[in-house]
Amino acid sequence: MRLEWGTFLVKDAVFGHKTQLSDGVLSIDRDGLRSFLAQDPNLGAIDVEIVHPGDETRIVHALDVVEPRFKVAGHGSTFPGLLGPPHTVGEGRTHRLRGVTVVQTADIPHRLRPTQWDEAIIDMSGPGVEYSPFGKTVNVVVGLRPVSGLTPEEYDTSLLLGGLRAAEYLAKSTADLQPEQVETFELGPVTPGLPKVAYIRVASGTNDVAIYGAKSEAMTPTLIHPNEILDGAVVNLNWGFASERNVTYVQLNNPEVLALYRHHGKDLNFVGVVMSGSGARSQWEKDRNAEHLSKLARLLGAEAAIISWDWGGSSQFDLMLTCQKCEKLGIKTVLVVVEMDQSLIFSTPEADAIVSPGITDEVVELPEMKRVIGGETLYKTGWEAKGRLEVPVRYLMASTNRLGFHCLTARQS
């Protein structure tokens, strides 16, 4: 399986009469995009704004961040199983816009009501910029307000698809252009003797990711090629704690996959990815889940594995069981574990090598902003969204991202 990313570097985005990219500037036909998104009868109001790094602007109520993608060649289509048929991707060529994202904002998603929603903030200037990877990109903010009377499933689906459609719409404008940069991904043959390394993804939430459009919770763990992940097979469904959120942008640029590809053929042999079905709710299920994950890594011939803890609190149990079982099979492991105030309550001696993408409870001061998009007041606290804020890092979008996309860690102080 050979995948090419055709990358277009975008320096700026402005509204214009036609959606097109020319010498690094993406012009967007605002009404064209809004009427394109209005194809979903469940979306009532749709607003589109553009924010730039350095603006004294704050985005609140952010749900997801999507990298604009359009598949131009090869089997399958953009965001398979959601925007197109559930056909396998990971081959051929896909165009992507670098430096610009789509950020959906919306009121509280049904699924998180009433207790589990938390604020999700992206600051385009001030100290907040350092914390969220999306303080430094041009963001096309798509405000979505579904019509009333929808079932929870319909409500949340319209939010999900709105963001993905906007991202495809922007990238589609480059369909006939030649990309400046082409990156190729292929698990080609390597010099023998390099350690075989697999990537295992453990999760347990009920709404973590959609794999080819289907929720992963009822799925038995499965193998997936890293190219499928880089080509849109896995999309974020989780709108929980903002800092830990593996937004779709991060799913599409999965850091573990990219890191392992960088090392593939140099000092290791990247043999594949094992994805957890998640949703295990009893000791028996978690034990079965972990056995399955470690067995699949073994079937790949892995001698070592990176294990990421994609979501969930109780799945820390699945994570540690998987680590323990891998090590017992002689598969050495490193875990990527986000930290919450609570220290991990279940630990096994085998979990001796952990990378921490940061701690969510540290409090950060954010200065007052001139402009705010996505809402007037913060969830739960009701504070004025534009004002000076003292908030836990947990509110800053993808700052302590669980997959380790951001250059943050936590240290004893």
């Binding site: 009868p41 469940n42 079932t151 499933e153 319909e154 689906t157 319209s158 698809l161 459009g213």
Partner: protein, 78 residues
Amino acid sequence: MERAGIPGVLITALPDLAQRVGANRIVAGVRMPHPVGDPSLPLEKERALRRRIVETALKALQTEVGEPTVFIVAKSGP
């Protein structure tokens, strides 16, 4: 049925299969145990969906087709 000259439309949850077997006018239904309904929806929404499916079926009956054709029901969401 069609060989006897009567125009027919088949509402089925497996339109691909119907197409391969040669049914000429096919409407994509919901799921096998309930091709013309969706129990996951509240009653009046399911009734509205059923109406949209049957309307599509009648539209198919009034449409000339050269070979097996699947008519998709306009539904919101995937």
